[in-house]
Amino acid sequence: MSTPLAPSRHGGNAASLPVRILRHGRYETGLMLRNGEQLVLAVVLPLLALVGLTLVDVLDGVGPTRIDAAAPGVLALCVVSTAFTGQGIATGFDRRYGVLTFLSTTPLGKAGLIFGKAVAVLCVLALQVVLVSAVALVLGWRPDPAGILAALPLLLLGTAAFTSLGLLIAGTVRPEATLAITNLAWVLLAAAGGLLLPADRLPGALSALVGFLPSAALGDGLRAALMDGVLPLGPVVVLLLWAVAAGAAATRWFKWT
């Protein structure tokens, strides 16, 4: 009987909502950074893509130099790695193990859980952007200074759209299926979804179709921003529509158990 175990007895005992969200964000950031597979997906593969794209000629003619054309696409790939694939898989397994149910019984609640995850995705993405940008600068990247500010809303919109899509999949199918779908989508979107290669570089019909994907909107948008210093309207609208639609679908169909 060393510990007195008495109820708090003064009504509610919940920490405030911002505190709960930030603490859950910090906790989930730690989990993501300690997960080896997620680090490969979030850091190693994007850096390999960055270096690889400066060694081959697929991006020749897209920008002033290969690295100028490659870096924005790799930043877009980082968004898909963390917000979509990594987050989707983690949430899918949390759902399987009842972790989502348990946490939703604590003061964190469902809203705190979602916003906390969003905070964690943004923290990890910030680290990815710093790391990829540093390596790209060493490789000779010279982004348009005016475009850096324009890249921010694109990254945020892309994060919102891909986080919602990841949660939609994680909340509706088995975690093994989530794992397969999000990994396959990562490969397909990286190769032919407008992330690393501009959508207009793809063969005819595919090119038009891919232009409406959130991946192409993010990739092409970031390339326009960081190479030409503009915030292109088309990609912003496409990303906004995907974020709203996927957010609404996830809210509607996400199953907690």
Binding site: M1, S2, T3, P4, L5, A6, P7, S8, R9, G11, G12, N13, A14, A15, L17, V19, R20, R23, H24, Y27, L31, R34, N35, D94, Y97, G98, V99, L100, T101, F102, L103, S104, T105, T106, P107, L108, G109, G112, T257
Partner: protein, 352 residues
């Protein structure tokens, strides 16, 4: 510390699952109007076989599931709509734990504590439950009993006024079980309302102030442990008979307070035979049905018979179905005999 207002009241709780594809898209009713009441400073137990509806009842009481009928009041609020302030006053231990496999107990409990304004000290709580020995081992590598203690600590770290414990002794070795039971009694003495589920008679007997026996999604008996264990005539027998053809109860038999429990292979059991009048009712029933049994024997009543009699025939029968045919006697005030202190699994064969 007990208060006149109960921590939890549940009335007429109904819950349907489905549509179930395997049943042509029909809904299955799993709770048929459950009622219960949990006071502060008391351990309230839901006792029943697997699939009886205990966990579904708890999920509705915790606000995890939306009831399809009836009312639930937790700390004076509808738990399904309750916000973080109500959740902060309630601790929940889920049956499967709900623990993240890659996280270490110390980190998890620190994180959960961070959701509260004035939590319990996680380090002291871990020491109390013996978690400190494996505080830095990932949860996936813990034994079932160790996970169980971590889940209990996670339910208590916010210093709740009411706690829900779904099968708290599952997987525990005798020593951890003792630790957990002591803690539960201490929490009760500190004024908490404790609602737990178990399928073990022994747990119910040792911990509970008030027991609700649930079967087939219905209340079948309730009372204090003393009430439930003191009055059942222990000389009650079970009549087993075998016959060709269908043997269903008729109003004449049910009027005598007897119900028929098919065992398969044309055998049936009729529990609660304690007077010669009961025996006459059975033979009169056989006469009305025109059935001459091929075998007929009286058996002493075992623990399992008592429980299954209350639980409505067989454990496999209990999920999502009504217990008894219409017109069956109300079991609400039936008593459990003393022998039920033994867990079902350790029932001595053929003796009571």
């Amino acid at each position: 510390m007990s208060s006149s207002t109960p921590a939890l009241t549940v009335d007429g709780l109904r819950k349907d699952f489905g549509p179930i594809a395997a049943l042509d898209g029909r809904m299955v009713r799993v709770l048929h109007g459950i009622h219960l009441r949990a006071e502060f400073g008391a351990v309230t137990t839901l006792l029943g076989t697997n699939g009886a509806g205990k966990s579904t009842t708890l999920a509705c009481a915790q606000g995890l599931l939306k009831p399809d009928g009836g009312t639930v009041s937790l700390l004076g609020h509808d738990p399904y709509r309750a916000g973080s302030e109500i959740r902060s006053r309630v601790g929940v231990m889920l049956q499967d734990g709900g623990l993240p496999p890659s996280v270490r107990p110390a980190a998890l409990l620190k994180h959960v504590a961070g959701m509260f304004r004035t939590p319990e000290d996680p380090v002291a709580l871990m020491a109390r439950l013996g978690i400190d020995e494996f505080a830095h081992t990932p949860i996936r590598r813990l034994s079932g009993g160790q996970k169980q203690r971590v889940a209990l600590a996670a339910a208590l770290v916010g210093r709740p006024e009411a706690v829900f414990l779904d099968e708290p002794s599952a997987g525990l070795d005798p020593q951890s079980r003792q630790t957990v039971f002591e803690l539960i009694r201490e929490l009760r003495d500190a004024g908490l309302a404790i609602v737990l589920t178990t399928h073990l008679m022994d747990d119910a007997q040792r911990l509970s102030d008030y027991v609700y026996i649930i079967a087939g999604g219905r209340n079948v008996a309730e009372g204090t442990v003393a009430e439930l264990t003191s009055h059942e005539p222990t000389e009650a027998r079970v009549l087993e008979l075998a016959a060709e053809g269908r043997l269903a109860a008729d109003p004449g038999l049910t009027a005598a307070g007897l119900t028929v429990h098919p065992d398969g292979d044309g055998r049936v059991r009729i529990a609660g035979i304690s007077t010669t009048a009961h025996l006459s009712a059975v033979t009169a029933w056989l006469e009305r049905r025109g059935v001459l049994p091929t075998a007929l024997s009286m058996q002493p009543r075992t623990l399992e018979d008592v429980f299954l009699h209350l639980a409505g025939g067989s454990a496999a029968d209990s999920a999502g179905r009504p217990l008894d045919p219409p017109g069956a006697p109300d079991h609400r005030n039936r008593r459990l005999p003393q022998e039920q202190a033994t867990p079902l699994e350790q029932r001595p064969n053929g003796t009571a």
